[in-house]
């Protein structure tokens, strides 16, 4: 009982630090993780064993893959090609970019996606002499929506995928359809909001059409080889059920191969700039803290309460979970939330021995990922995008972002709600 309380105190304290951002969130999570050990809530071995290496290495592997893929210039190429395909017409560029951002972030980390695409959009907007602000807000939103579609698109999905038996293809079958519908609706919304058009002179338009995106692909051989490896990696992900190799090992192998292909000798730059150690350690700390809740019985206790409250009704539980996750993730980081929810849902699952609790996992994923759009601080991609805009003299207020984000979040959650009801019940 004392240990239970102590574990709760460490957990609450860490959460408070993460929400208030009083110290760096990685430091908060790691400190919480080691306080658990220092207070004797968990032996060190148990705390370390709680770290889900499948998640850690999948994250690192994808970061390595990205570091090389980024170097090939392919993403800038795609972005500029897209703008040109849109014939340099702002509304069309916005819609195309929205879709491209969603598609890229389905396979890549959302933050990386916006960090690559937003500078290009700023440049395009500068050349067209229009405000980049609507583009930036919408692209951040698109990255959160797109990231929900696959197991590797967003940290909540990586966490869920690793903790459950759900395969890469399960994510595609269950989440991709709803995300496609969601994107179509969002594009419709964009069209309605910006249909009055943003005027651009033909001179500015011509300037954009002058971009020589072919110059961006410096090393064609590297690009082709990289794309082949990435393709094989994706195939290996989809064949998870058949080949029984975990995504982490697939991603790490692909990452290492790409690094060898790109530069056999030098890894310092990649380790310093491309591997986001703060995120890695943040996850590690969270795993340790959540394990203490599990071992001391806090999770069991809460799970029992939830099941009693919902009167063994999976349908209601799913819908409540969707909206609760959505609203909660709009306010705070969804990673600690999902890390805590995973053991909770697993325990709840034991109360439903005859039925699959898969709808709960999809509700958690949809809520946690799409909820990130709710406010400016709901997802890292939002914060990073607005940060880039601010540094370039375009100030996006919390209100300005949240107005649009809230609209998208609400629409997404309503669509998800309907989808879950129709598909699973």
């Amino acid at each position: 009982m004392t240990m239970m309380l102590l574990a709760l105190v460490v957990f609450a304290f860490t959460y408070l630090l993460i929400i208030t951002e009083w110290i760096n969130k990685m430091l908060a999570a790691l400190m919480g993780g080691f306080l658990v050990v220092l207070f004797g809530i968990l032996p060190q071995s148990a705390a370390f064993a709680a770290i889900d290496w499948n998640v850690i290495f999948l994250l690192i592997g994808m970061m390595l893959v990205m570091s090389v893929l980024k170097e090939t210039g392919i993403f800038q190429f795609i972005a500029i090609k897209t703008a040109k395909l849109a014939k340099a017409q702002p509304l069309r560029i916005m819609i195309y970019m929205f879709v491209i951002t969603a598609v890229i972030s389905a396979f890549l980390d959302n933050v990386t996606t916006v960090m690559i695409l937003i500078p290009i959009v700023l440049l395009i907007a500068n050349q067209l002499k229009i405000s980049p602000i609507p583009f930036i807000i919408n692209m951040a939103i698109a990255s959160n929506i797109g990231g929900t579609a696959t197991m590797i698109g967003d940290p909540p999905n990586i966490l869920i995928g690793s903790a459950t038996e759900l395969s890469f293809m399960d994510f595609i079958f269950n989440l991709a359809p709803i995300i496609v519908i969601n994107l179509i609706v969002s594009v419709g919304v964009l069209h309605i909001i910006y249909r009055r058009g943003i005027h651009v002179s033909s001179e500015s338009r011509a300037r954009l059409m002058e971009f020589k995106e072919d110059n961006l692909i410096k090393d064609k051989k590297l690009l082709y080889r990289s794309l082949v490896i990435v393709f094989i990696m994706l195939v290996a992900f989809t064949l998870h059920d058949v080949i029984h190799i975990e995504p982490a090992s697939v991603a790490m192998t692909a990452g290492i191969l790409l690094l060898i292909l790109h530069n056999r000798k030098k890894v310092d730059h990649v380790l310093m700039h491309d591997v986001d150690w703060a995120t890695i350690f943040f996850f590690m700390g969270l795993f340790m803290i959540v394990e203490s809740l599990k071992q001391t019985g806090v999770i069991d206790l809460i799970a029992k309460q939830i099941v009693q409250l919902s009167q063994h009704d999976l349908k209601t539980t799913s819908i409540v979970l969707l909206w609760f996750s959505g609203i909660f993730s709009a306010i705070i980081d969804n990673v600690p939330f999902v890390t805590t929810m995973i053991p909770l849902l697993k325990t709840i699952g034991t109360y439903f021995p005859d039925t699959s609790i898969n709808p709960l996992w999809w509700s958690l994923s949809l809520g946690a990922c799409l909820g990130g759009n709710g406010t400016l601080i709901g997802a890292s991609a939002n914060i990073v995008s607005v940060g880039i805009a601010n540094r370039n003299g375009f100030h996006i207020s919390f209100k300005e972002f949240t107005k649009l984000g809230m609209l998208h979040m609400f629409l997404s959650l309503v669509i998800s709600n309907v989808y879950i009801l129709i598909r699973y019940f």
Binding site: G73, K212, N215, L216, N392
Partner: protein
């Protein structure tokens, strides 16, 4: 070891007036030529010294010039001192003391220490007045001996830095900044307030950065752009933005008594060619990689 012990009365001259450097150097070389086993003639020596002088100035702001050459096989360091009554113009510096040194190619340490000792001496105004009062070589050497200057002291930044650097105020516009840089052919300026207090530094890259927006810096490659005019923004901002907006204030400066190796170390590590030299928050000078190169390495 006392500096005075390195001087030979035979090689000390007093000259009232000289038309040019060559005339004096000729006299100095002649005095030295007998003291060692030179394999070349005085004319050739003179040519070498003048050639070295033409490469970069050998004069220091305190009014001392230290022309020198290194030649192979003399296995000694020879010093000749000339006290001038009428100053000789060395690229804007009025020189009244000339110290000529001829040294073995490899003997750089002793040479640098000698230079350092002479520079230290030249900064001591009272001592210099005392020396100028002396009438002959023996008196001069005993006067130097009395001053007790040793040649163990190593060279400091203050010995080779530019003590009167051009500076700029924080409230100047970028237009004014770019005029100063352009008019003086500079790439670096310390920023100081009216009292000479060091505030920061600004270089030509800080200025260019105004024209290259942050989002362009985030792109890995810019090869697709060939019509972008990055400096448009700079020209627009030139009259509105101030030096204070773009200067670096990270307090990366050196102190006058830092050693030369420390300065070189900082420059290499920080990838910076210029450092402000600051003492008690007040700007004392500017040291550049070129100073170290020409006044120490190539000295």
């Amino acid at each position: 070891m006392l500096l005075a012990n390195y001087l030979d009365a035979k090689a000390v001259l007093f000259v009232d007036h000289a038309a040019n450097k060559e005339e004096i150097y000729h006299q100095m070389v002649s005095r030295l030529h007998g003291s060692a086993d030179f394999r070349i003639s005085t004319t050739e020596l003179l040519k070498l010294i003048l050639a070295r002088d033409a490469e970069s100035s050998t004069a220091y702001p305190t009014g001392i010039a230290i022309p020198h050459i290194r030649i192979e096989g003399i296995d000694d360091t020879l010093v000749s001192v000339c006290m001038l009554k009428d100053p000789l113009d060395y690229d804007g510096i009025d020189v009244t003391v000339i110290v000529l040194m001829i040294t073995e190619k490899t003997a750089s340490r002793l040479y640098l220490n000698l230079v350092s000792a002479f520079i230290q001496l030249s900064k001591d105004t009272l001592a210099m007045q005392e020396l100028k009062r002396q009438k002959d070589a023996h008196q001069l050497i005993s006067a130097i001996k009395r001053l007790g200057i040793t040649i163990k002291a190593s060279l400091h930044i203050s010995d080779i830095m530019n003590c009167t650097p051009i500076t700029i105020g924080p409230d100047k516009t970028l237009k004014e900044l770019s005029d100063v840089l352009s008019n003086h052919g500079l790439t670096y300026l310390p920023v100081v307030d009216d009292e000479g207090k060091y505030l920061g530094e600004v270089d030509i890259l800080n200025l260019l950065k105004v024209g290259v927006p942050d989002y362009l810096m985030m792109l890995d490659h810019l090869s697709f752009l060939d019509s972008y005019e990055p400096l448009e923004n700079l020209l627009e901002q030139e009259d509105r933005m101030l030096v204070a907006d773009i200067m670096r204030t990270d307090q990366e400066f050196l102190s006058p008594d830092s050693s030369i190796i420390e300065a070189a170390h900082e420059m290499i590590q920080g990838n910076k060619r210029y450092y402000s030299v600051v003492q008690n928050n007040v700007l004392a000078g500017v040291i550049s990689a070129t100073d170290i190169f020409t006044k120490v390495v190539r000295a």
